[in-house]
């Protein structure tokens, strides 16, 4: 299940809804990860653009991998501005046994950081500054650059 929200995530509400959704499905483990925007380098918050068609196909491929292990993935992410000390990202794995979910939440979040088509900006003096140095180049990049 993938949810996109405008602005900061309402963590308590989202996690409560997810718990209600999964608690009677006989999963033994519910492992959530909540990303919180930190106050560092003078930023006021973060801002995000998302390309939904590829995000959906990336997420659906992960859901298929989870299904093979009898696990299920849930993810919520913000669009637009997210102030410091609020959340922009929640991911969770549920599975019958904890070890599958603990490993999968790590692998899923790492792959999310490397491949999900989301662009991050620092909010500085009310303006968006692309977080280029912290961003990850996707596979096949440079295909259209002119030959030297």
């Amino acid at each position: 299940m993938l949810e996109l929200h405008n602005g900061p995530l309402h963590v308590n509400t989202i996690l409560a809804e997810w718990y209600t959704k999964i608690s009677d499905k006989n999963y033994g483990a519910f492992i959530p990860f909540v990303g919180i925007v930190r106050d560092e380098d003078g930023i006021e918050g973060l801002s995000f653009d998302i390309y939904e068609p590829i995000l959906n196909s990336w997420f659906n491929a992960w859901q298929e991998k989870a299904k093979v292990q009898n696990a299920y993935l849930l993810m919520a992410h913000s669009r637009g501005d997210v102030p410091n000390h609020t959340s922009s990202y929640i991911a969770a794995v549920v599975s019958p046994k904890r070890k599958v979910a603990l490993k999968m939440i790590n692998d899923f979040v790492e792959d999310f950081k490397a491949n999900a088509p989301i662009w991050k900006y620092d909010l500085v003096d009310g303006k968006r500054v692309y977080a280029k140095e912290r961003s990850h180049v996707l596979s096949g990049s440079g295909l259209l650059k002119a030959d030297a």
Binding site: Y130, S135, S141, K145, A146
Partner: protein, 73 residues
């Protein structure tokens, strides 16, 4: 005409170009100095699937997306 969209921080409006493969798009962009810096680090999607082959034939309804480096979360 294939549609080309510039995602995220590229911040340009979409364009339509008359090309038959991505190699022709590469030529189309070769004199765009500002874009060249981005193209070195941009991935390319054809109809929302990442591709790495310049010779894939294109049709007039195809959508090409340029994806700069990503950082969710």
């Amino acid at each position: 005409m294939a549609k080309v969209e510039f995602l995220g921080p590229l911040g340009r409006p979409s364009i339509e170009v008359d090309i038959s493969n991505l190699s022709e798009l590469k030529t189309f962009f070769k004199d765009d100095k500002e874009l060249q810096d981005w193209l070195a680090i941009c991935a390319v999607a054809l109809n929302d699937t990442l591709v790495c082959d310049l010779n894939i034939p294109l049709s007039k309804d195809d959508k090409i997306s340029l994806l700069p480096p990503v950082c969710g979360g």
